[in-house]
């Protein structure tokens, strides 16, 4: 059991958790992820690591409530527990001096992009951070984004905050202004990452995307997360999660990510009808509060 030390809502259906997980905290590097399972009957899902504190033995993760597991996770509070967390998984981001880098993140994807942005800035890059969100309520971690970047642009679909438009509009604007961009990292919904690749590939800008395919074990054992990179089948969990955007078959990724859509909807509906019961059930499995320590 992994104790939640802090839980805080940071945007519409988006929550940030600080969790006691010393092994992961000691080893985590920018770009890596975890897999968690909330309870005995739970599924295993991959989630981003936003930061870690090796001294305190904690990791910070962020999740948007979309399916059942993320919805249940977002009902948890400080003092609650997560049954299983494993990580850090995947290869870390490549950190070196590229020159000018653009970090492009969609909403909760910002959590995944932040550690890489920080590391790239520390490596001497000029960091441009473009955060995109549907609306003002989905804009998350703005202060940290600003602290991690030399230039920050917030884009919203409806213009309710920052500038109106997609992240690729800003990217195109920057290119049109003649800005030289040496490296791009895009993290977010697949259509967003595909759109970024469509801008940068013809320009020959090296671009990495962090892929969120469906995973089970996260160690390369099942192959469920396979993606097509050029002509090669690769496993996002152990070969990624970052891949060269110009080689990614995004259509296939979307097709495979839709594989359990009906089941996911069924599971979420059941959860919403029994939310309190389900929460009580998993809380009954938590270790008893450390009364003797008081």
């Amino acid at each position: 059991m992994y104790k939640i030390l802090e839980a805080r809502s940071v945007g519409f259906k988006i929550k940030q958790f600080v969790i006691q997980a010393p092994r992961i905290a000691r080893k985590q590097q920018a770009g890596q992820f975890i897999i968690l399972r909330l309870h005995d009957r739970g599924e295993r899902i991959p989630l981003t690591i936003k930061s870690s504190d090796p001294e305190a033995g904690t990791v910070t993760i962020a999740a948007q409530a979309i399916g059942k597991t993320t919805s249940l996770l977002n009902c948890l509070e400080a003092g609650d527990y997560i049954k299983d967390i494993v990580g850090p998984l995947g290869h870390p981001s490549e950190i070196k001096k590229f020159g000018t880098v653009a970090i492009i993140a969609g909403s909760v994807g910002t959590a995944m992009a932040l550690p890489t942005a920080n590391a790239l800035r520390k490596a001497g890059n000029h960091v441009i951070f473009i955060e995109g969100a549907r609306n003002t309520e989905m804009v998350v971690f703005e202060d940290e984004v600003r602290a991690a970047s030399n230039e920050t642009y917030i884009m919203t679909d409806d213009g309710s905050y920052g500038e109106k438009g997609l992240v690729t509009k800003k990217l195109n604007d920057l290119v049109a202004e003649g800005r030289k961009i040496d490296f791009v990292l895009a993290v977010g919904p697949v259509p967003m990452m595909r759109a970024v690749a469509q801008v940068t590939t013809p320009l020959g800008i090296k671009t990495m995307v962090s892929l969120n395919s469906i995973m089970v074990d996260g160690t390369g054992m099942c192959g469920g997360c396979r993606v097509l990179i050029g002509k090669n089948a690769m496993f996002a969990c152990v070969d990624g999660p970052e891949f060269d955007a110009s080689l990614v078959n995004f259509e296939l990724l979307m097709q495979r990510n839709a594989m359990y859509r009906d089941k996911e909807a069924e599971s979420l509906k059941l959860f919403e009808e029994n939310k309190e019961k389900e929460l009580a059930q998993i809380r009954a499995q938590f270790p008893k509060q450390e009364a003797q320590r008081a």
């Binding site: 599924e43 990580g87 850090p88 074990d217 054992m221 192959g223 469920g224 396979r226 296939l252 996911e264």
Partner: protein, 486 residues
């Protein structure tokens, strides 16, 4: 020994082999309940009567872990079932498991003299009976550990190799901690072998026994990611490490259409169903493709393929078909599994090889374009190699396809342990006798050294490693027995 079997051999050989009671095929192919129901005490005693007590028992010679089978059978005959269990445990720390999953026909029973003319003694069934009897009696004959040596051993992987090494090392007085990447202990015994062949309660019971003996377990640790071998030795002060991470990455066929929705590796399909209990969705959260009233094909001829196809049948598949490129004779699967599968309504399509998977416009699998094969000259494996018959292409309808043709080495540990030598196929190089690797204090065994094999061979490697580790911890000598360079 009391109650010695005095029946003349001639009479013993007249007794027919006891049949294992089974759930009826049309009941079990809709259920995940265990197929074999186990022998009763009377049947076990009758079966033990059949043993003709060879002076040089072939059964013992052919057992990869050298279980003293003849003595076990004698104890069963004498009615001392707990004694028989204790005798088993001297060489095999997981008897309830091996009694269920060993390919006995190639091992102990294959060495039984009775089998030359008629049917061998049902050693596997006796082993299972004895282990189950002991468990249900609650009177566990757990061995006593030697006094603490002050040394500690990290075992990476909690499958059969890791568990059997843990059982032996704890008895020698070493501190033992087993690291597992998944959230539950058992490795392939949990995620790979289905409930109907090996109930998870049995695995949990054996793990609980090891815990009682003092073995520590830590789940959710991916060695190579969460911690490296070097860190285990330097920062966590383990004197030796045994790498028993098992078979790794699934092999796909590399044919067009393999990314269609509905195409799975057997590892993924079985992990979803066994470990994650997807067959109980939505009570359990993890989903799997709903193959009720659908056509399912499974590609391969080994135990994993057999497990997958029988699982698909149980999930309600309209047709569950095993597609294998060689003939039934070459199938590496256990004979009993093949028999059970046939009884359950699994269809066998031998000498058939998929060339391409076909799908609809939304990316869902609709069929497999296959070609018929014939057997040619023997290949490297000694089996006659399959050769495609020109012009025999045909389409098999399929909504789900499961690829169970084997695995390759998972590189996680090798790539994070620079001084660990690997084979050209990237398995870990270990001396076949001592299981020592190129790195001082590090041993490796099981599928990560040999490539995919069986539970009992992995257990044999675990025992060998334990003996070798004990020797190293006692003498402190390494150089003389370092891994031979291939």
């Amino acid at each position: 020994m009391p109650n010695k079997n005095t029946l003349p051999n001639k009479e013993r050989m007249k007794i027919a082999r006891t049949r294992m009671p089974e759930l009826a095929p049309d009941v079990r192919n809709k259920s995940f309940e265990e197929v074999n129901l186990g022998l009763c005490a009377e049947a076990a005693k009758t079966e033990s009567t059949r043993c003709i007590a060879c002076s040089r028992p072939g059964c013992v010679q052919k057992c990869p872990v050298g279980v003293k089978i003849r003595e076990v059978v004698d104890l069963v005959y004498a009615g001392d079932f707990l004694g028989a269990a204790a005798k088993l445990r001297e060489d095999n720390s997981l008897p309830a498991i091996t009694g269920r999953v060993c390919p006995q026909e190639n091992q102990c029973e294959g060495g039984c003299l009775l089998g030359k003319k008629g049917e061998s003694v049902a050693i596997g069934n006796l082993e299972r009976f004895v282990a189950d009897y002991e468990r249900l009696s609650g009177q566990l004959g757990l061995p006593v550990n030697a006094p603490s040596t002050g040394k500690s051993v990290a075992i990476v992987g909690s499958g059969p190799a890791g568990l059997s090494a843990a059982g032996d090392l704890i008895q020698k007085g070493h501190r033992v901690r087993v690291f597992e990447a998944l959230h539950e202990i058992g490795g392939v015994l949990l995620y790979g072998i289905p409930e109907f062949r090996l109930p998870k309660e049995i695995v949990r019971g054996e793990v609980e026994n090891l815990r009682k003996m003092g073995v520590e377990f830590e789940t959710n640790v991916v060695v190579g990611k969460s911690v490296t071998i070097d860190e285990l030795m330097r920062d966590e002060h383990y004197d030796a490490v045994f790498v028993a991470t098992g078979a790794g990455l699934p092999i796909f066929l590399g044919v067009p259409g393999e990314h269609l929705n509905g195409v799975y590796s057997s590892n993924e399909f079985l992990t979803r169903v066994n470990l994650m209990r997807a067959y109980k969705f939505p009570e359990y959260d993890e989903p799997v493709y709903d193959c009720r009233d659908k056509d399912v094909i499974v590609v391969g001829g080994g135990n994993t393929a057999m497990d997958a196809v029988r699982t698909a049948k149980r999930l309600g598949a309209k047709t569950a078909t095993l597609v294998y490129r060689r003939s039934a004779q070459e199938m590496p699967a256990r004979a009993e599994e093949v028999k059970h599968a046939r009884e359950e309504g699994v269809q066998f399509r031998m000498l058939t090889n998929p060339l391409e998977f076909l799908g609809d416009e939304k990316g869902w699998l609709t069929g497999a374009r296959c070609i018929s094969m014939e057997l040619g000259e023997p290949d490297a494996s000694g089996r006659r190699s399959p050769v495609a018959i020109p012009g025999s292409e045909h389409v098999l309808p399929a909504n789900m396809a499961i690829i169970g043709v084997g695995t390759t080495a998972n590189p996680l540990i090798q790539s994070t342990t620079p001084d660990l030598a690997t084979t050209p196929r990237r398995y870990i190089q270990a001396d076949p006798e001592s299981l020592r690797t190129s790195k001082r204090g590090v041993f490796a065994g099981g599928d990560i050294v040999t490539g995919s094999a069986t539970v009992i061979l992995a257990m044999g490697a675990g025992r060998k490693a334990a003996a070798s580790i004990h020797e190293y911890l006692t003498t402190g000598e390494w150089e003389t027995k370092a891994a031979t360079k291939a």
